[in-house]
């Protein structure tokens, strides 16, 4: 067991960036495409070292790197990975080759910048999950915004510019608040160290403001109801690969932010606002599902289903007990895989038919059985069919929610009914019934070929692996989650014992600034 490979995390983060630079200067579109794919594949392979060299049972950060970045303020280039972030990193490195390969097959316009942006995005996303310093986290968090903005705005559909700007403004407004929050935290504690902050007590007033600011930033990203309306637009307009990454990884930056920062660093505030956030999560679950039910555009339907699914993840995070949080961590991965696969399949259909409207299809099960069969498996995974991945996470989350406040589990379980409803409605319209449009028949519509299967099948295999052997994942997730919960409990007890005088925020800022 070779434990630490020097600079492994740095390598994983910056390999794609290096690849982006190479792609920009490489000659010829073909070369660019394959270089980009090679980069993501190598990154994926390297990231697997995290799994193989994992120190089993270890709760704390592993593969830690720590260097001074800006000494006067104690800003550090600190990286580390634990059970909470491990699978998000692996999810990212797994989905990237798939998204890039899809683009190789179906994107032709200005391929150089496109691939470079994709790779840049990968660097930023992995960075978010690995950063242990608030400033570093923020830099990566923001950096992820730019490539996605351009990917939607330049390579998107008809209404792409509107969607891109909306995406940008929404998340940007959130980020602006996060800057403020980070500064509040820094002035209150004097550190940007995320791990240290998890055991640093803060006055309740500070916690409240900082928590709210962080929450808003992450709520937009997640997206939590009612901050979700950018998502359907962004998804409908984004190119397929963009949608895969947006739903698969980018949204998790929001829930990950809650889990890593907002909830453990400000435990009292989190406790206070927990019921409110949980209510929003529940509304998201039910509302997202009901709106999804009525969508005519397949991509919009999947987008709204994301609102519902991320509601589950949020619920588990807010429950702040072992089952809820571990379930949420796994569910983030599950949603990434299932929704990534859904967008991939929708994309494959779109490239054939140049429409995503449910009414344009019907009877596909007769003409493209392999595609339809896989679609059904993916839909079932998304609907939380036991035996597949989604159920394991959802059930753990509902277990956690019940032990947080039973009513939330009851409502979340109602969402399970609706999930089946909207997914089967989509399946019914798309795959079942008669073929009414000749474009959908066997002669005109081709079933998936080998190249396309290569993208879908690994995801489907993972559905089964996670569904049947979730302990492969929980073994690594649980220790970190439990340690985090313990630290948080200690902090809460300290807070309760100390009974800190509730200072006004302004006062604190003033005194700290002096």
């Amino acid at each position: 067991m070779a434990l630490s490979i020097p600079y492994l995390l740095t390598i994983i983060i910056f390999l794609p960036l290096l690849g982006a630079a190479v792609v920009m200067f490489a000659p010829g579109d073909r070369t660019k495409k394959w270089l980009a794919l090679a980069t993501t594949l190598v990154t994926f392979a390297v990231s697997l070292l995290l799994w193989t060299n994992w120190q089993q049972g270890e709760a704390g950060m592993q593969f830690v790197e720590d260097a001074v970045w800006f000494a006067p303020l104690g800003i550090r280039y600190a990286l580390g990975v634990d059970g909470i972030s491990l699978f998000l990193v692996l999810l990212t490195t797994l989905l990237m080759p798939i998204a890039v390969y899809f683009s190789i097959l179906y994107v032709d316009k200005r391929i150089g910048p496109y691939m470079a942006l994709m790779l840049l995005l990968e660097t930023a996303m992995i960075g978010v999950f690995l950063a242990l310093d608030l400033v570093l986290f923020f830099v990566f968090f923001e950096a992820s915004l730019i490539p996605m903005y351009f990917l939607i705005g330049e390579w998107g559909g008809q209404n792409r510019v509107y969607a891109a700007v909306k995406f940008f403004l929404y998340t940007f407004a959130g980020s602006a608040l996060m800057v403020v929050a980070i500064l509040i935290v820094y002035f209150s504690t004097g550190t940007f160290d995320i791990v240290a902050l998890q055991s640093t007590p803060m006055p309740v007033a500070v916690q409240t403001w900082a928590f709210l600011a962080f929450s808003l930033a992450f709520a937009v990203k997640t997206p939590l109801f009612p901050f979700h309306t950018w998502l359907p637009d962004a998804h409908v307009q984004a190119p397929t690969a963009g949608s895969i990454i947006l739903a698969g990884v980018l949204l998790k930056m929001g829930t990950y932010g809650f889990l890593r920062l907002a909830m453990p660093i400000f435990p009292q505030a989190a406790q206070q606002f927990g019921p409110l956030l949980a209510t929003l999560a529940i509304v998201g679950i039910l509302y997202g599902a009901l709106v999804a039910l009525m969508q005519k555009d397949l991509k919009a339907l999947v987008a709204y289903s994301s609102v519902a699914h991320l509601g589950y993840v949020m619920l588990g995070v807010i429950a702040m007990n072992a089952q809820g949080v571990s379930g949420s961590v796994l569910q983030m991965v599950n949603h990434g895989l299932s929704t990534g696969a859904l967008f991939l399949l929708v994309g494959l259909l779109y490239e054939r038919r140049h429409t995503r409207m449910l009414d344009d299809f019907g009877g596909l099960w007769a003409s493209v059985p392999v595609y339809t069969g896989l679609f059904l498996v993916v839909a079932m995974s998304s609907a939380g069919l036991p035996g597949l991945n989604g159920f394991v996470g959802e059930f753990a989350i509902m277990l956690g929610a019940y032990n947080y406040m039973p009513i939330f589990a009851v409502l979340a379980a109602a969402g399970v009914i609706l999930a089946a409803w909207y997914l089967l409605t989509a399946f019914r319209k798309m795959a079942q019934g008669e073929i009414t449009n000749p474009a959908n028949d066997k002669q005109h519509l081709k079933d998936l070929n080998l190249k396309e299967l290569v993208m879908v099948v690994p995801l489907v295999i993972l559905f089964f692996v996670i569904g049947l052997f979730p302990n492969l994942f929980f073994d690594k997730i649980n220790p970190s989650v439990e340690a985090m919960l313990e630290t948080r409990t200690v902090l809460l007890q300290q807070g309760a014992a100390a009974q800190m005088p509730s200072l006004e925020l302004a006062e604190i800022v003033v005194t700290e600034a002096k």
Partner: protein, 629 residues
């Protein structure tokens, strides 16, 4: 020997995988026999499990084989494990035994079906899921099977997904309805499992008995009622039975296997399996019994006026499941399982015989267009008659003993329930022989159909005969006073409660009278058309429209649940989300910055610069704060 239980799962799984990946190069016959062989193998494994278990002393007949730790989070721990005990082995025998016969029958029945690979793949998958349901040693594993059979049911009801007719509408819609209605039941199951773990601390069945002692009765009642909701979904009881009649859109072997013999009994099995919880709540048990009996009566009354042979059988299934559920609710687990087993035989037989008719009439099952078929299809007629006799509770047929066992318990516990049961039993006898007389006796009503009718091939009739023998003889597994099955189940359900001899004899006598009277009424009404029946019928004539509209239950659902929900989600999707929520946020954006302005700039191509400048601004602000701070 018990270690070989993995084969029970591996064989149908292998069959399904072979058909999935290699089926396209195999003929219909080969695919059918591969699938059948897989289930036969599983049946032989089940038989060997039964022998091994019977060889053990009674108190040792509960063997857990753990495969791997499935899901562990903190104190929450669920293994992937199977429980081999008297109950699960009986279920496995029924599932694989009846399953095998129906697989073989399907080779003949689905002979002209171009998508035969899918059919047999789904069937093997169903067997796998059903075995998971009955063999798992914990709630969550059972739930995997529970949903797996639901998926198989969805796939097979909508097997002809591109077909529609006047009775079912789009077949695909029937499958969708079944899945979603079942999901309402799953809502109850999920919450029940969560509550069980949160209050009892384990989801493992064998640990329940010792762990439930400190469970508050009120909590137990809630848990059991949630489980009941699950059971009403899967076992088609009030209020969730509405999916089962539509499920008849599926191919007839599917109706026989899934929607009569096995899957729909899952709710009954689940209650028996979780009896440790039900012991704590008499209220929940009584509620269950009432739901079961009211369902039994309601469904039997609807069956009386249905004109489609399969629909008659579907409502009959709902009704018989009501008997089983009621028995389970009253704690008469032996009687419930007994009726489950005999019903699996005779109802599978009835469906398969109906399928044989369908095979002969080119899909026509409207009994008003049939008649006189016994001359054309003697085997089908005889076996159907045996099935109907068992269903009607004609003495000495298996259904007589098992239904009587339930009625006697009701007589002992609650006379009101018994009266409902007696009326339902009378109606059962009437509608089953109505089906016999109208379909097979009298004059042909449609000469064209009659002329083309023919007996089915032996690949279909041999399963019919085997099931017919079982329908006659299965009563021996639990004869009154002998109670072999009850004793066999004692390790799972505890000692059998003694019933006073007088009650037992009274019950048997009444059952005989009811069955014979029912058959006589049916004969007089549908065969010999005697006037006294019309007079008997007169006072009930006003009910006919209500019955024909199936008590308006589907309409009530549409009016009170489906339409409002669709209305709300439509309003959300068309008005609230785009106008109110999005509008509000856009409005805020507009106030601050002028979204329109932004968009115009964007369209001028200035947005990249714009965006970048914002970002640079942020970084500048950040550093400004950092340095000044």
């Amino acid at each position: 020997m018990l270690e070989s239980v993995w084969l029970l799962f591996a064989l149908p799984a292998l069959g399904a995988l072979i058909i999935l990946f290699a089926g396209r190069w195999m003929s219909q016959k080969v695919v059918g026999w591969v699938a059948s062989a897989a289930v036969l193998g599983a049946f032989l494994v089940a038989v060997s499990l039964w022998f091994s278990l019977a060889g053990l002393p009674a108190e040792a007949r509960s063997v857990t084989v753990t495969w791997w730790e499935w899901m562990t989070i903190g104190a929450f721990r669920v293994p992937a494990a199977v429980l081999i005990d008297p109950l699960s082995v009986i279920m496995a025998l029924v599932v694989t035994g009846v399953g095998f016969l129906i697989h073989v029958y399907s080779i003949g029945y689905m002979e002209h079906e171009p998508r035969y690979q899918r059919f047999f793949f789904y069937m093997n998958f169903f067997i796998l899921a059903m075995l998971t349901l009955v063999m798992s040693n914990n709630f969550l594993g059972m739930f995997v099977g529970w949903e797996g059979v639901g998926l198989a049911s969805f796939l097979l009801i909508g097997f002809w997904f591109d077909k529609r007719d006047d009775m079912y509408g789009w077949y695909a819609d029937a499958g969708k309805k079944a899945f979603i209605v079942n999901r309402i039941g799953d809502f109850g199951m999920i919450l029940a499992m969560i509550m069980v773990w949160s209050t009892v601390g384990t989801l493992i069945f064998t640990e329940l008995g010792a762990a439930v002692h400190n469970l508050a009765p009120a909590t137990a009642t809630i848990i059991c009622l949630l489980l009941l909701l699950g059971a009403t979904g899967k076992s088609a009881q009030i209020p969730l039975y509405i999916w089962l009649p539509d499920a008849m859109a599926g191919p007839t072997p599917v109706s026989a296997l899934i929607h009569a013999a096995t899957m729909v009994t899952a709710g009954v099995y689940m209650i028996i399996r979780t009896n440790a919880l039900w012991h704590l709540s008499l209220d929940a048990g009584l509620t269950t019994a009432w739901i079961g009996m009211v369902t039994a009566l309601l469904a039997a009354s609807i069956a009386l006026v249905q004109t489609d042979l399969k629909k008659i059988l579907a409502y009959s299934t709902i009704s018989q499941l009501g008997f089983m559920i009621a028995a389970a609710g009253l704690g008469a687990y032996g009687a419930a399982l007994f009726h489950l087993v005999t019903h699996a035989f005779f109802k599978a037989l009835l469906f398969l015989a109906a399928g044989s008719v369908m095979h002969a009439t080119d899909g026509i099952l409207d009994i008003n267009r049939l008649g006189g078929l016994r001359h054309k299809m003697p085997t089908t007629y005889r076996t159907f008659l045996i099935g109907a006799a068992a269903l009607a509770g004609i003495p000495l047929f298996s259904g007589f003993f098992s239904k009587d066992a339930i009625l006697v318990i009701e007589l002992q516990r609650n006379v009101a329930l018994y009266l409902i049961g007696a009326v339902a039993a009378l109606l059962t006898a009437i509608y089953s022989f109505r089906a016999v007389f109208v379909t097979f006796h009298g004059q042909p009503r449609d000469q064209h159909i009659y002329d083309h009718a023919h007996e089915s091939p032996s690949v279909m009739t041999i399963p019919l005969w085997i099931l017919a023998v079982l329908s006659v003889a299965a009563g021996v597994i639990n004869l009154p006073f002998v109670l072999t099955l009850d004793h066999w189940l004692e390790p799972v359900i505890g000692e059998h409660e003694q019933i006073p001899l007088v009650l037992e004899l009274l019950g048997i006598t009444l059952s005989i009278v009811i069955a014979v009277f029912g058959v006589l009424i049916a004969r007089a009404r549908y065969l010999t058309h005697e006037p006294w029946v019309a007079r008997l019928e007169q006072p009930f004539a006003f009910l006919k429209p209500t019955l024909e509209h199936r008590w308006y239950v589907d309409d009530l659902y549409a009016f009170f649940i489906v339409s409002p929900l669709k209305g709300v989600s439509g309003w959300f999707a068309r008005v609230f989300d785009p106008k109110v929520i999005d509008g509000a946020v856009n409005g805020v954006g507009g106030v601050i910055n002028g979204t329109g302005e932004v968009v115009r700039k964007v369209q001028n191509g200035a947005i990249p610069t714009y965006a970048l400048s914002i970002l640079l601004g942020v970084v500048a602000v950040l550093f400004y704060f950092l340095f000044v701070g």
